[in-house]
């Protein structure tokens, strides 16, 4: 029953697979993938429909196991927040499990588990996603549970106060053991001076303490609307029947006026920014973040492959240089995933106890400069394509993976079909493209460098993304 403690992005980083990306404004449907590709063949049974109330429903039937994964994607995250209500998106994720009209406090979990289901949820800068995994026979019940909380969530002041305590404690939890999260929060707040990507997903402490009931209600009405969601159902179901069932349940929830768009764009950075965080630790940490791309940027796949060349596996450039040859680090990870707006391209380097931050940073910098100057080899590009393609297939091995990937494509690219085109897009990445993009992204004036310096005082960490 997990509320995974690591950020979605961190997970992807750890898995060495940057997330495919994103688009704020849905575009007209992309050309469907040629049915000749293996991916198109695999996805030939997928059906999608937008209900009258604006809810997009996507169904991927597969009868291998008698189970279903459901993912309900809401286009709201800390990107939609502002000072005073930071952390509200994540708070809602908690509130969505705390009782509604028909199923009171605690009942959502109890009823779901008694019927063979399990659930989870996560919040990021861009989205809040609710996940249920259950036997296919329980689908009507699951839709009833989901409708209840989406239609008539309870706003009991007592529950809000106790959950405020839980969320606040969640922010403060792991004080002694999330040094990476503490550094990352400061990095993000430093790298963005204007855009709400500067806000930590869990929220600043004073805001967690001071949200008001009316903030919550307004926020819920604005963002938890069917026209602001994409529901994906993958597994042992028949699409036509699913559309009927969803129409009769979630389809009855009224739509709302579209939320105000996020207008702020981050101005161009005029020179390197540096921060130091001092924490009780044995092991120093280094993080370097460059302003990157949004998920729907035409160069998104190029950046993804470049990221794989630099950080995926023992053969990657940075592992080889920092861990294997110079032995200044014990681990190097990276993320390139974009959001609705341009995000950061991150490098996280864990040093051994007593490690030399200056030396490690210099090596990392020179490796990035080298790739910007000389590009990568043909073998490296081939490797990155293979890794991306194999990762693509592996993600589509499970109902859960399919629900996540379809939701991702639909939400961020505005069209689920973009998922099946991914292999084709990887094919189009060129050596020249990688080199040009490396030169553009790894601009020293566009980066933020963070050092975690071990000391004898402790401070408070946070996670970029918190899950229920």
């Amino acid at each position: 029953m997990s509320r995974p403690p690591l950020s979605w992005f961190a997970c992807l980083a750890l898995l060495g697979a940057p997330q495919a990306g994103a688009q704020a404004v849905p575009e007209p449907s992309a050309k469907p993938a040629a049915a000749s590709t293996p991916a198109a063949k695999l996805g030939s049974d997928i059906q999608a429909r937008t209900l009258k109330n604006g809810l997009t429903v996507i169904v991927w039937p597969d009868h291998d196991i008698p189970n279903v994964a459901l993912a309900n994607w809401f286009r709201v995250g800390s990107r939609n927040e502002r000072p005073g209500i930071t952390g509200l998106s994540h708070f809602f994720e908690h509130m969505m499990f705390n009782g509604a009209k028909k199923y009171g406090p605690g009942q959502f979990d109890r009823v779901m588990e008694a019927n063979g289901g399990a659930n989870n949820a996560f919040t990021s800068e861009d989205v809040t996603v609710y996940l249920d995994w259950f036997p296919s026979s329980a689908l009507p019940l699951i839709l009833d549970l989901e409708q209840d909380r989406l239609q008539s969530l309870a706003f009991d002041p007592k529950v809000i106060e106790s959950e405020r305590g839980v969320v606040y404690s969640e922010r403060r939890s792991g004080v002694d053991n999330d040094n990476g999260g503490a550094l990352q929060e400061q990095m993000q707040a430093t790298a963005f001076v204007a855009h709400p990507y500067q806000i930590p997903v869990i929220g600043w402490p004073s805001d967690i303490e001071s949200w008001r009931m009316e903030d919550l209600q307004r926020y819920f009405k604005t963002y938890y609307a069917p026209n602001n969601a994409t529901l994906v159902i993958a597994g042992d179901v028949e699409p036509a029947r699913v559309f009927e069932q969803v129409e009769a349940t979630l389809g009855t929830i009224p739509s709302q006026p579209a939320p105000e768009p996020v207008r702020t764009q981050e101005p161009e950075q005029q020179g390197e920014r540096r921060i130091v965080v001092k924490r009780l630790a044995q092991s120093p940490l280094l993080q370097v973040a460059y302003h990157g791309l949004s998920a729907n940027d035409p160069d998104a796949e190029t950046l993804e492959l470049l990221g794989l060349i630099l950080t995926h596996g023992d053969s990657s450039r940075l592992h080889r240089k920092l861990v294997d040859e110079a032995r200044v680090a014990i681990r190097v990870r990276g993320t390139t995933a974009g959001g609705f707006d341009p995000t950061l391209t991150w490098f996280y380097v864990d040093l051994p106890p007593g490690g030399d931050l200056a030396k490690t940073e210099a090596l990392l910098t020179s490796e990035l400069a080298r790739v910007a100057k000389d590009g990568v080899t043909d073998a490296e590009l081939k490797k990155a394509r293979n890794v991306a393609l194999a990762t693509f297939w592996r993600k589509l091995e499970t109902n859960d993976g399919r629900a996540r990937e379809l939701g991702n494509a639909a939400t961020f690219r505005g069209d689920w079909k973009a998922l099946l085109d991914a292999p084709t897009r990887y094919e189009k990445v060129t050596l020249d493209g990688v080199k040009a993009l490396a030169a553009r992204i790894f601009n020293p004036d566009h980066r933020t460098v963070g050092w975690l310096v071990p000391t004898t005082d402790s401070a408070t960490p946070v996670r970029q993304e918190t899950a229920r």
Binding site: W133, S162, V387
Partner: protein
């Protein structure tokens, strides 16, 4: 739980913790201001399943089983939906074969299998795996070394070559050994800086099994690793790496007959291990209470594990025991999580787990709470344990647990990786397909009294418990003493075992 591919980190693998799949979140600093419910307050009514209970589970696919002349066991299953192939190679004899003082030897040897083998040095080997988008993971298990891999189907021939090179022709290069050893020591130190949930199991096993191979740290310790040299590695490999120790399952998009021929050509000439597999000595529940307090001076919360010896993987009542564990601490609405998180806000997560092995392994309750509420949280957990062990569950709770366990079972055997792992695991423990195919029937047939009887055997008696607390010792000494005789050590100690373990 979403299935997330595990980290390629020996430490994570050892602890069965994938960084993204950790199933708990940290503890509150302050409990919500609400009085705890009276101990005799009835549990909230458990809803009855609304849909008829489905016993439609999953069936283990029929494997093509081949035993080569030299003893290698092959289990092959074709799965053509995706262009992928997965393998799970189990080598009998893991950390239990580590000599005393050389903890981590088997794990380090396993790690080196991918650091140069056959015609490739370490870098060329990594290039070969990554170059085709392959994945390779070395899991240094307690009773087996496990190599898991996933490749695109078009690279099956390369996969066979890399796997057989690792097994038959590892180089054990001295420089790579020195690097891997140093890296492992740094990783352990770094883990001690990190989330104590990653390490509490290591401390628990070391304290609970002080003179049994189950007590040694599989990945070694900062004290044991530096003593391991190339001679140790070569000696271990000669004694323990060999055809008669290997169970290899492969699942995916291939022709079984052709793949069997390829594997026979690649592995048929491999010699058996130099020594017979040592038997693992029997284990039994320990008597009395024993407390280990591990000092982490900067801790703001206490991480605790409470338990004793549990059951074997082959225990005839294992399904019923697992069902009972689900109610105790195996799901979000479990008794432990309800009491410690939902009702009292003492923690963000409380759970129980029954780990099984060739011999009875552990049954452990784990949670964490802010330092000031350590005693209250432990008392509550003990209260839940003893009441549940005494009273069992009611009919509604049983029905709910049956539905939950049945409903969550099929996704555990959804992917090629999962199936390959399961096939090898069953063969390793001498179990057959009935373990999977009979699972739903065994769950459905469970009765309240049956579960209660099994739990009274399997769950530890309140007077016989091993406790491990990781936290701020200065603030915990008096609390710890309440539970039994205390042994103290520092998290900065170079071993996972206390300098002096109390006599058992």
């Amino acid at each position: 739980m979403p299935t997330l591919r595990p980290l390629r980190s020996a430490l994570a693998a050892l602890l069965f913790v994938s960084a993204c799949a950790t199933t708990q979140a940290p503890a509150p600093d302050s409990a919500p201001a609400q009085p705890p419910p009276a101990p005799e307050a009835p549990a909230p009514a458990t809803p009855a399943p609304t849909a008829p209970l489905s016993t439609k589970g999953v069936t283990l696919p029929e494997a093509t089983a081949v035993t080569l002349k030299n003893g290698v066991r092959l289990l092959l299953v074709e799965k053509h939906e995706l262009p992928l192939v997965s393998f799970s190679a189990w080598l009998k004899g893991g950390a239990v074969t580590d000599p005393a003082g050389k903890e981590g030897l088997a794990a380090l040897t396993a790690e080196l299998l991918q650091k140069g083998a056959g015609s490739r040095n370490a870098q060329q080997f990594a290039d070969a795996v990554d170059g085709v988008g392959g994945e390779l993971e070395v899991v240094p298990g307690r009773e087996a070394l496990i190599l898991n891999g996933s490749f695109q189907a078009r690279d099956t021939a390369l996969m066979v070559e890399l796997l057989s090179d690792m097994l038959v022709r590892p180089r054990f290069d001295a420089k790579e050994l020195e690097k891997a050893r140093a890296l492992r020591v740094s990783e352990i130190a770094s883990a001690k800086d990190g989330d104590p949930r990653m390490l509490i199991g290591v401390y628990f096993n070391a304290f609970h099994f002080p003179s049994h191979p189950y007590g040694g740290s599989s990945v070694g310790s900062e004290a044991s690793l530096p003593t391991i040299g190339r001679g140790d590695v070569l000696g271990w490999a000669k004694a323990n790496l060999g055809a008669d120790r290997l169970i290899l399952s492969v699942v995916g998009d291939f022709d079984a007959k052709q793949l069997a021929a390829k594997l026979e050509a690649a592995l048929g000439g491999w010699a058996p291990a130099g020594q017979p597999l040592p038997a693992v000595p029997a284990t039994a529940p320990t008597k009395g209470r024993h407390v280990l307090l591990v000092d982490k001076p900067d801790a703001t919360q206490t991480y605790f594990a409470i338990g004793n010896t549990g059951i074997r993987r082959t225990d005839p009542d294992r399904v019923v025991a697992e069902l009972g564990n689900t109610v105790l601490g195996g799901r979000f609405t479990s008794l432990l999580n309800t009491e410690l998180r939902v009702k009292t806000g003492l923690t963000y997560g409380a759970r129980s787990s029954m780990q099984q092995a060739l011999q009875p392994y552990t049954v452990v309750l784990t949670s964490y709470t802010q330092t000031a509420t350590t005693g209250r949280a432990i008392d509550l957990a003990l209260d839940v344990l003893s009441r549940y062990r005494q009273d069992g569950m009611d009919d509604a709770m049983l029905a709910s647990a049956q539905a939950y366990v049945l409903g969550q079972f099929p996704p555990t055997l959804e992917t090629g990786d999962q199936l390959a792992m399961k096939l090898s695991e069953l063969a390793f423990y001498g179990l057959d397909a009935q373990d999977v195919n009979g699972f739903a029937g065994a769950v459905s047939a469970a009765t309240r009294d049956g579960v209660r009887t099994v739990l009274q055997r399997v769950l530890p008696a309140p007077e016989d418990l091993t406790f491990v607390l990781i936290g701020k010792a200065d603030a915990l000494r008096d609390v710890a003493r309440k539970y039994g005789p205390v042994t103290e050590m520092k998290i900065s100690d170079k071993r996972f075992t206390p300098p002096t373990a109390p006599a058992r």
